[in-house]
Symmetry: C2
DNA sequence: GCTATAATGTTATATTATAACATAACATTA
DNA sequence: TAATGTTATGTTATAATATAACATTATAGC
């Protein structure tokens, strides 16, 4: 059984984001139910905000929105929610940008490689076994026991090359 | 002509760091001479400090040392020197740690993969063509034109697994 | 209801990084 | 060698990112 290699693709022109978002949120709710965890209104709202687009979102941008919606939001409010969402595999942090993106396979354990278009800002997420395995074999050969991978690739997506 | 795949290895027990450091500094001086750039005392000192060990160094740790050596150092002092050193390929930034490591092939153009031991903190730098090419072929297949790679792998180095 | 735990609220501060403008050092050449 | 342009550094201030520590509230299980 082969895993799907593209977790979150670059979107086609006819991408229906409301549908996309709805199915992600439903999936996250389901995972939480299964795990006996609480996807509280706050966590749910932060997940929605991260998934507002397919572009990375900054913690303080989320904070600003939360503050505009309801008094009392402060940095820990956001970072705790993000921590929870990351732990459950609902969002990923892009280390090279200090920003967060939604995960296209919420809750499923996988490694990720991110393609980040520096023109339009859109992020695609891969879970490519070949890359994972090659890195595994290379690190093994050096006697290194890898436990956490950060792979972030910046460049130009297809649409932006044409434009 | 095959490139050397291991730019900076995990050190053996008999690693002579003063020799290692000296040859790196000499190489950097040479590269600057060739390029008509100035490896000023400040830049040289920052490069030395980054290379004090094979572990990542924080900008503000460098700042503290500079301040203890001579009044007047402030954040821009350090960040400008680091920017120069990065541009010339003398140091790399580890995005996942907000920290800096010396480059084992100063000034030579290459892509890097970093292995970071979370036990001892030591960083090894690879320039593995296979990894680079695999990622290239994968991104090409998606119509993505990659221009900048961030590959940082955390885990346990050989020595730390034995201990 | 009581209690343990998890979640959120609250205040303060730590850490990382840059903007913007001023001065100094240095090289080129008029 | 004085004038000029350029690069590097000094200086002040602040922006951006993130966490510590402790208080309170909500919730679930008993």
């Amino acid at each position: 059984m082969k895993e799907k290699q593209i977790v979150t693709p670059f979107r086609s022109d006819d991408h229906q984001h409301s549908t996309c978002l709805a199915s992600i949120l439903t999936a996250a709710e389901q995972v939480c139910r299964q795990r006996g965890l609480k996807l509280t209104p706050l966590r749910y709202r932060v997940l929605e905000l991260v998934w507002k687009t397919h572009e990375p979102v900054k913690a303080y941008d989320i904070l600003q929105i939360l503050q505009s919606e309801k008094k009392g939001a402060v940095p820990p409010t956001v970072y705790r929610a993000l921590d929870f969402l990351q732990q459950q595999g609902f969002v990923h942090k892009l280390e090279s940008m200090n920003a967060y993106v939604g995960c296209g396979a919420p809750g499923q354990h996988h490694t990720s490689q991110f393609l980040i278009c520096h023109q339009c800002g859109v992020v695609a997420e891969l879970d490519d076994d070949d890359i994972g395995q090659l890195i595994g074999s290379k690190t093994d050969a050096l006697g290194f026991k890898a436990s956490q991978l950060t792979i972030e690739i910046k460049g130009l997506c297809g649409s932006c090359q044409q434009a």
